[in-house]
């Protein structure tokens, strides 16, 4: 046991050291006149991996830089940094897209795995749209999780928006059907639908979601106008599997990246965007009403690759 503990301590120490070395992020890696060598590329790769871009994407990006160096397009270590930044911004430029709110009512479906922040995002989005002068209603289609309806009701009260709901355990499709009917009759601008969290591996729950979507589409052609997958920024490589499955099973129009106020960078959206072409419509940065912003690639990339 003693040997094991000593070993664990040693590993911990070495981790600490490498963390300190990496502590300053890019600038530490590119400190002073260091040569453009293998260790630089390795550290850049690790920096991308540590932001959850995934080892394959990270390797690919670094390979690109290496190629640039080989061809003499990059000669100074500082340029490597700006090139990587520029490249990432370029990749994410196509990920900017406004919410589709032209129709009345515009229906926004919020979906994602358990605990990603769907209900909170619904509340914050309702507040933002209301602040922009839209009339908004929320639909409580998470009839499964204990007290999910209460949570949405609390949000509705906080931001002054009506919450259309039924009893816990009722059919989500029925809730949404009634909600669409109600907002259409009343001329409400936007209906935001909060759905039950579900792991993307539960095919029956995915089917339920697809049904909700079909019901809305039949009732109101063109709806839902947005089907947004809410993704926790702390999520690792599984985020890609989530997006793939939800996109395939339900059809997505974009992502909402939540919890960016922590230390996680949410880099997994990069491979998701590259593979599926989904835009990142919104980012969540806290629990307050106004902690919701449109996605800005420049801000995102600077956070991903700190100075």
């Amino acid at each position: 046991m003693k040997v094991l503990a000593a070993l664990a301590d040693r590993v911990r120490l070495s981790l600490e050291r490498s963390r300190n070395a990496l502590g300053g992020g890019l600038s530490a890696i590119l400190r002073l006149a260091r040569p453009l060598d293998e260790s630089l590329f390795e550290e850049l790769e690790e920096l991308l991996v540590s932001a959850d871009l995934g080892s394959l994407t990270a390797r690919e990006f670094v390979e690109r830089l290496r190629e640039d160096v080989r061809r003499g397009r990059l000669t100074a270590p500082e340029d490597v940094r700006s090139e990587l930044k520029r490249f990432l911004e370029e990749v994410l430029a196509t990920a900017v897209s406004p919410l589709a709110l032209d129709q009345r009512p515009a229906v926004i479906l919020m979906l994602g795995v358990n605990g990603s922040g769907k209900t909170t995002t619904c509340g914050k989005l309702a507040a933002a749209l209301k602040g922009a002068g839209k009339s908004v209603a929320l639909a409580a289609a998470d009839t499964f999780r204990a007290a999910a309806i209460d949570q949405l009701l609390a949000w509705g009260e906080r931001v002054g928006v009506e919450v259309i709901h039924q009893a816990p355990g009722s059919d989500p499709s029925a809730v949404v059907f009634d909600a669409v009917k109600a907002v259409t009759a009343r001329g409400v601008d936007v209906l935001i639908v909060d759905t039950a969290g579900r792991l993307h591996t539960k095919s029956n729950l995915l089917e339920e979601l697809a049904k909700v979507k079909r019901v809305v589409g039949r009732q109101l052609p063109g709806a839902p106008h947005e089907s947004l997958m809410v993704l926790d920024a702390t999520t690792g490589q599984n985020g890609l599997a989530q997006a793939r499955t939800f996109h395939e099973g339900v059809g997505l129009t974009g992502l909402v990246l939540t919890k960016l106020d922590g230390t996680a960078k949410g880099g997994i959206v990069v491979p998701i965007h590259r593979e599926l072409g989904l835009p990142i419509k919104l980012v969540g940065t806290g629990e307050r009403e106004d902690d919701l912003q449109p996605f800005d690639p420049k801000v995102f990339v600077s956070a991903l690759l700190p100075e």
Binding site: L4, A8, V11, R12, S14, L15, S18, R19, E46, V49, S50, A51, D52, G54, S55, L56, V113, N114, G115, S116, G117, F144, R145, A146, A147, A148, D150, Q151, L153, A154, W155, R158, L199, H200, T201, S203, D232, T234, T235, G236, Q237, N238, G239, A241, Q242, K259, D261, G262, T263, A264, K265, G267, I268, E287
Partner: protein, 439 residues
Amino acid sequence: MLRKYRSCLDLTEENIQEALREVRVALLEADVNFKVVKGFVERVREKAVGQDVLRSLTPGQQVVKIVHDELAELLGGSGHRLQMAPHPPTVIMLIGLQGSGKTTSAAKLGRHFQRQGQHPLLVAADVQRPAAVEQLQTLGAQLQIPVVGTATQKPVEICREALDTAANRGLSPVILDTAGRLHIDEPMLEELRALKNEVRPHHVLLVVDAMTGQDAVTMAERFNAAVGIDAVVMTKLDGDARGGAALSVRQITGRPIAFVGVGEKVDALEPFHPERMASRILGMGDVVSLVEKAQAQVDEAKAEALAKKIREESFSLQDFAEQLRQLRSMGPIGEILEMIPFFKGAKGLPTELRGQETELNRYEAIIGSMTPAERVDPQIINGSRRNRIARGSGTTVQDVNRLLKQFAQVKKMMRGLRQLEGRAGKLSGFPFKIRQLGR
């Protein structure tokens, strides 16, 4: 992965290199923190080089084995159990990020201890998230476990009252659900520290989402430094996340993983098995986990009685029906098959498997229509009895015949097993077929 290393002839420096590169990618794709991966790969390299290849293994298997064993060892050797305090109530406090699954885990822990014959108390001290208190109350009501706490009180007050309640009513353990918070939110961390000082929990459990990426390290480290944690609960392992965060958290905090959450139902909480987690992170499927899940469903005593019956060759149709019932209590067949790598990701289920589900229903009905004497000794089931049984169970005589034939085969198989037992040790439950599927 790693399959291609199973047929190498010799363990050369070169193919270790290649294997280790693959291991590195696999671990990174499983979300193990890259610094942890670095140290890990280095250690495996040290262990592998200079090691003799065992006669019974291929060099590739040897590498896989070293990787797997090393992973399992790092993950915590044998499982970790929460000790109950000598003077009850034992106090367990749950902390973690928003959305990691604290409230659900609190209820599941309550259920876990309730099943052990204890009388837990759930404490709703998350007054931050709207309706978090209601959520725990709803879950508590489902489980008939008392819940204290209201959204208008301060967490410290709630916990103080909870300890009084537990002492007065003789309830233990006391399980505290706290508000989710970021590990960099100083005021909220201060609140946790104050709470901890007030209630002096015996166990502080950090709840970690299995889907967490590289940041698991920072999160665990900060929570551990700011509040101090004793063990970890990994949640949402019923998804397809490889769960590399388990290794990161374990490595960075040195704390064991006590439980894993494996579903939305309140009893979907299991003790942590380092071996299984190691397989999962490496991407070798969860076959071991499946087999053990099947075994856990079989009550120990029943299993012993069954083994005895098999030894004495007195296994009856009654026992067979019981076995079918247990097999089904593991969940829908589809879900069970999902755990086997081969079926994982396969879209929907082949129709013949759906057929098996109805076949099981039919078998249960047929056995239900037999007399006790017939169940013990199927030999006495003649033509007219078959007719009666078929009518009684709403099936046909052909169905009854098929069941009797299959039962005879099972008995024959058991006789074979009895001979095996001498060599392989104790009989281990029902799922022979599943085991075969997994290999």
